[in-house]
């Protein structure tokens, strides 16, 4: 295990190890381990309620996982073990494995600062702001300024840089024509694209996409697949996505993890997954014997 880890440390952007998330008595994510190598597109799939978004939330700091370790660029980013009441209730495995090392539980903004950006399953754009401002706010995190220099315009250069970068990002994403429209007035496909643009504005190394093709027609899905590949090349990104659209996943993923009821049931390249009996069963249900 440890030798394997040492070898993979260099090229893995994200390393998730034995992550378990238990809400009360419900185990939403059970002992999930996965590796995300640099510059790849990795997919996490599974039927509804399998725990995909919960897994995302554990990685991005929205939830503190009950147990497990998440490493980003070879450094521990999230680490947890059952405490308090959960010690007795805990149903998962490896309960003692991370006890010695103390809990690391950063807030989502700290994780974003490290270089992980995400989009949301149900689009979460800032409603009262224009397209331009939506992207501009994402630049706030990395701006070199404090509240005084920002208020009294002591750093006009920094502000101009943020605006220029925002503008060029919008141009690259084909959103420059609608930059002064309210974010919520855009058609659905463009809202998705804007959310991705906003995530890109934080200069991420790893991009997490939560069901990017939800609610899209086949044409839009096709465009999205191209778009994801394109931004991976352009921004040297690693992409980790949750998706329901099988054709999208099969077309663009380099490697796929499948989970059901919180536990991993399969992993492999798209061809293997397509022919995996357990995956087919999970999606279509097991035929009962007569």
């Amino acid at each position: 295990m440890s030798e394997n880890k040492a070898a993979s440390e260099v090229k893995n952007v994200l390393h998730v190890e034995n992550v378990t998330m238990q809400f009360g008595g419900v185990v939403a994510v059970n002992n999930l381990s996965l590796d995300i190598p640099q510059n790849r597109i990795i997919a996490l799939i599974g039927p509804n309620g399998a725990g995909k978004t919960t897994a995302f939330n554990c990685i991005t700091g929205v939830y503190q996982p009950t147990n497990g370790l998440v490493e980003f660029m070879g450094k521990p980013m999230v680490r947890s073990h059952p405490t308090g009441k959960m010690k007795k209730q805990y149903k998962g495995e490896n309960a003692e494995m991370y006890v010695g090392n103390g809990i690391i539980n950063p807030t989502p903004d700290k994780i974003t600062r490290l270089g992980i950006a995400r989009t949301f399953q149900n689009i979460r754009l800032w409603k009262s702001m224009t397209v331009f401002d939506n992207v501009l706010v994402a630049k706030h995190m990395r701006a070199k300024q404090n509240v005084f220099s920002a208020t009294f315009r002591g750093n006009a250069k920094e502000e101009r840089r943020m605006r220029d970068e925002t503008m060029s990002l919008l141009e690259e994403q084909g959103l420059d024509k609608v930059k002064d429209d309210l974010a919520t007035s855009l058609p659905y496909g463009l809202q998705r694209r804007l959310e991705i643009a906003r995530a890109l504005a934080t200069d991420p190394k790893l991009l997490l996409l939560d069901e990017p093709a939800a609610g899209m027609n086949p044409q839009e899905t096709q465009e999205l697949a191209e778009f994801i590949k394109e931004i991976r090349e352009k921004y040297k990104l690693t992409v980790f996505l949750i998706e329901h659209h099988m054709d999208l996943v099969m077309r663009i993923s380099d490697y796929i993890y499948v989970i059901d009821f919180g536990s991993e049931i399969a992993r492999g390249v798209p061809m293997e997954i397509q022919n995996n009996q357990r995956v087919i069963d999970a999606y279509l249900g097991v035929a009962e014997d007569e």
Partner: protein, 402 residues
């Protein structure tokens, strides 16, 4: 296109500057030239109080309207500001009479007098009170930072309740006898530097600045708040208001930014409290009740949550209505006739009805979340006159567009 826009905005700035200059000339004339008719006597306090409440509303709007934190602690921070100001500007010679039950109090020091020993009494009153006002804001901000650490983890209604509780606690603490050597217990503070002390004597003639002074301070403060709102931090505040989860996912530290907004808002609440103390000439902790916060909240809602100009307009209208225009309802007589309804308290009934009507028909306030701008007014005027005489305008616009 951009050149035209630039020209337009430049023109707008000039018009704005001219309006502000005209306003100050008018205020100067009100202070010094105009005879004190009953109109002027009614107008000046309304102007002063309206300006002070504008600042209080805008500072509350920064928190409630732009950051989306529903805080009801305004009166508490005003109280801190008002007391800080008063304590540090009471002349040393008056300490014995003000703190008569507390042996002249613990603080034998007055900022205006200390400054006055260098710059003379006029400069002392002016710069001393400005320093005391800034100090008042800083003390309120320090309290805000201390209270913010536990309280800002709460959301919406819970935050409102926690801050409301804080107001009551602060009010009780300031009336506590054991702190009497500083706060004068439940007795009032008085004889500190007030607006009427803002005057300049040149060669026998005295120039008064009693109305200009609050306008000047309030305008500076509101400009700072507007600059903040339009800066990168202001945008981050709005992002937190619109969607906390998304804001946090985009790298905006919720706690840091909420704290920042809370502290800045409370700084200006403290400044507003100090100005209110100057206006009232005496202050008592007892009067800073949560009803005061509700009054400010009401103005913010009437003006439009998320609109600075709306807050200012609403503050002036509200103060003018409650202190002046609706006075006749309490007087018992209307146009020489005695009306049985018109007696003490009827004003409040009418006032409540007016507010209800506003809330019903302008549910988003007078301004919504838009801002007043000169081009907007110009556009509105154009539209109005366009309705009156369509033909003429159409021809003009045709030539104008070319």
């Amino acid at each position: 296109m951009t050149k035209i826009e630039q020209k337009k905005s430049k023109k707008g700035t000039w018009i704005a500057l001219c309006c502000i200059a005209a306003l100050y000339v008018l205020l100067f004339l009100i202070d010094n030239v105009f005879p004190s008719t009953s109109f002027i006597v009614m107008l000046t306090p309304v102007l002063k109080k309206g300006a002070i409440y504008s600042l209080l509303c805008v500072s509350m709007n920064l928190l409630n309207g732009f950051t989306g934190l529903f805080s009801l602690g305004q009166a508490g921070f005003m109280l801190i500001g008002a007391y800080t100001y008063a304590i540090f500007t009471i002349p040393v010679a008056e300490h014995m009479s003000v703190y008569q039950y507390f042996d002249g109090g613990a603080i034998q020091f007055s900022i205006p007098e200390a400054i006055g020993s260098i710059l003379g009494p006029t400069g002392g009153a002016f710069f001393g009170s400005i320093i005391a006002i800034i100090l008042a804001g800083c003390v309120a901000a320090v309290f805000a930072a201390l209270i913010g650490i536990p309280v800002l983890r709460l959301k919406s209604d819970y935050l409102a309740i926690a801050t409301l509780g804080f107001v009551e606690i602060i009010r009780a603490v300031f009336q506590w006898n054991s702190l009497g050597v500083i706060t004068n217990g439940s007795n009032q503070l008085r004889k500190y530097t007030a607006f009427s002390d803002m005057k300049l004597t040149i060669g026998g003639a005295t120039l008064k600045f009693g109305t200009i002074f609050p306008f000047l301070i309030v305008m500076l403060c509101i400009i700072v708040i507007v600059l903040l709102i339009n800066s990168s931090y202001g945008r981050a505040f709005k992002a937190i208001r619109d969607d906390e989860v998304a804001a946090e996912a985009m790298g905006i530290s919720l706690f840091k930014h909420k704290m920042l907004s809370f502290v800045i808002s409370c700084f200006f609440a403290g400044v507003g409290g100090a100005l209110l103390a100057m206006f009232q000439t005496t202050i008592k902790a007892q009067s800073f009740t949560s009803a005061m916060t509700y009054e400010i909240l009401l103005m913010v809602v009437i003006g439009g949550i998320g609109s600075v100009s709306g807050s200012c307009i609403a503050a002036f209208l509200y103060i003018a209505c409650s202190e002046w225009w609706l006075r006749f309802l309490d007087s018992g007589k209307f146009l020489g006739l005695s009306v049985p309804f018109f007696r003490d308290g009827f004003r409040k009934v009418v006032f409540s009805v007016v507010i209800m009507i506003i809330v019903l028909f302008f549910s988003r306030g007078i301004m919504g979340d838009r801002e007043l701008s000169f081009s907007g007014i110009a556009g509105g005027v154009k539209k109005l006159s366009g309705r009156l005489k369509k033909k003429d305008i159409e021809e003009k616009e045709d030539t104008g567009n070319e």
